[in-house]
Subunit: 288 residues, 2 copies
């Protein structure tokens, strides 16, 4: 969690001869120690792999720093991750986006895939422009339907889960509130967030899938919320318990953190291009 990114100057096309480039990507988080490079270690991270591949493709010696929309933890997957990098215009103009895309995917291992590479819209900031982030958490509560092919992103739990009770509890969390009970504490960082959506549904292939959307998430927030709601779904608590838990504003051992492997970052929701600069400004002011 390098806090320096908070203080980055707002670059965009043209400023200082830099072009902001947007990357859309997906990865199987199983064999990664999360998104973020951990300084001083050689752990395999998505950021590390993509930055190295980008440097190779663009033939740059120095580091190319990616700014990401959702910093996923070790073992968490992504289908709709977004990042940006600011490149000297002469570097970017030397080649085509299609060529960069093709060569990046040629270099990267097959558990990470770049879906697109393109010059970003003016004012775009992967981290500060999003309106919201959407995560899904996948559970299976029936051994008879558990698919070994999905063991990397579906968690088998004791069932049957009471999905109606889970949804009743989940609805009590929706809205603007302090999520301190569900976040790993960090000094001088707010834990106030707007939870836009939190609901569970059964799918045709026997899964129970949580969709959790917020303006932003604190560390381990989705997994703590899912862990708490799992307690409700398995009958250990009534739905109303979640309100008392949230209001305690204290993280306790009573809340289990659901395993990382069930969690996938599905989508980063950005405003229309014309609203990008204003949205980034609003976010920066709110976080500061």
């Amino acid at each position: 969690m390098s806090p320096d990114i908070m203080d980055e100057p707002a670059t965009s096309q043209g400023v200082g001869g830099l072009i902001r480039v947007r990357l859309d990507l997906a990865y199987d988080g199983t064999d990664f120690t999360g998104w973020a490079i951990q300084e001083g270690s050689d752990l395999r991270t998505v950021q590390g792999e993509v930055e190295a591949a980008l440097a190779t493709v663009l033939r740059v010696d120095g580091p190319l720093r990616l700014t990401v929309a959702g910093r996923t933890d070790a073992g968490v997957h992504a289908r709709g991750q977004v990042a940006h990098v600011d490149l000297p215009a002469e570097l970017w103009n030397r080649t085509t986006p299609e060529d960069v895309l093709r060569r990046l995917n040629g270099i990267l291992d097959d558990d990470v895939l770049i879906h697109s590479v393109a010059a970003a819209a003016p004012g775009f900031d992967a981290r500060f422009s999003p309106l919201s982030r959407v995560y899904r958490y996948r559970l299976c509560d029936d051994l008879k339907k558990y698919d070994p092919l999905r063991r990397h992103d579906v968690v088998l739990v004791k069932g049957p889960l009471n999905v109606a009770q889970m949804n009743e509890a989940a609805s009590l969390l929706v809205g603007l509130r302090d999520f301190a009970s569900f976040c790993r504490k960090r000094e001088r960082a707010t834990t106030i967030r707007t939870l836009i959506r939190c609901s569970f549904s059964r799918t045709d292939d026997g899964l129970v899938v949580a969709t959790v959307e917020a303006d932003a998430f604190c560390h381990s927030m989705v997994r703590s919320i899912v862990g708490a709601l799992l307690d409700v779904g398995q009958g250990r608590h009534e739905p109303a318990w979640i309100t008392r838990t949230a209001e305690a504003l204290e993280r306790t051992a009573a809340i289990q953190v659901a395993p990382a492997l069930g969690l996938t970052l599905e989508e980063i929701v950005y405003p229309p291009d014309e609203d990008l600069p204003a949205q980034a400004e609003r976010t920066r002011r709110r976080r500061a």
Copy 2:
């Protein structure tokens, strides 16, 4: 491919004090050299793993031979595989099916999962009772939608695929015919099969999925059919070409065999219990 299974006596409950037990299972074929034990080798096979686990759970020294509905090749997956094993009644009655199931799954690695274990209906034969086998082959023809989490069971191909043309060609193969053009030849084995269903559809998550159903399949038949239809979908042949290819009754290098990893055995269709003995008898007579 041990042909001895063809000559097995038709055992069922009670005969010689044996109980026929049905196992329903699923596996990720990635790290298996297929279903069948290869005599004289120590390659990892699904049959080998499950037979060994079963022997451990039931505390049997000798080999417990499984008879399977669909002998999948190396790398091919299964969600709806079915097998049977004939056990001495005193062995089976010593424990409960639930206990056997729980202990089997406790021993087996997590790329194979037993969904159920139960005494089979009278006359049931995993191999000879099926009305049909259903396979699915999963393709993705759009890099932007390719999900690295599905790289173990979805094959990325050059697109966009012309699904309408693929379906036109596929429909020309449906019915009773000699599939010699799509089968690896085996001495004295017929290649006449009834193809019940063969069609492609686009899914919401960007895949093109082939559903292929037949009374039974010859070796590499699904992958050869999908490979040929891929040629149509990518514009290398007109749909009518498939009819000429089928009528040649000769396997040629012109037909590519689609990679194993895209193929999954989804379902074994059995008749209602009361028709089981008659169906097994019909199949045995036809194959002989």
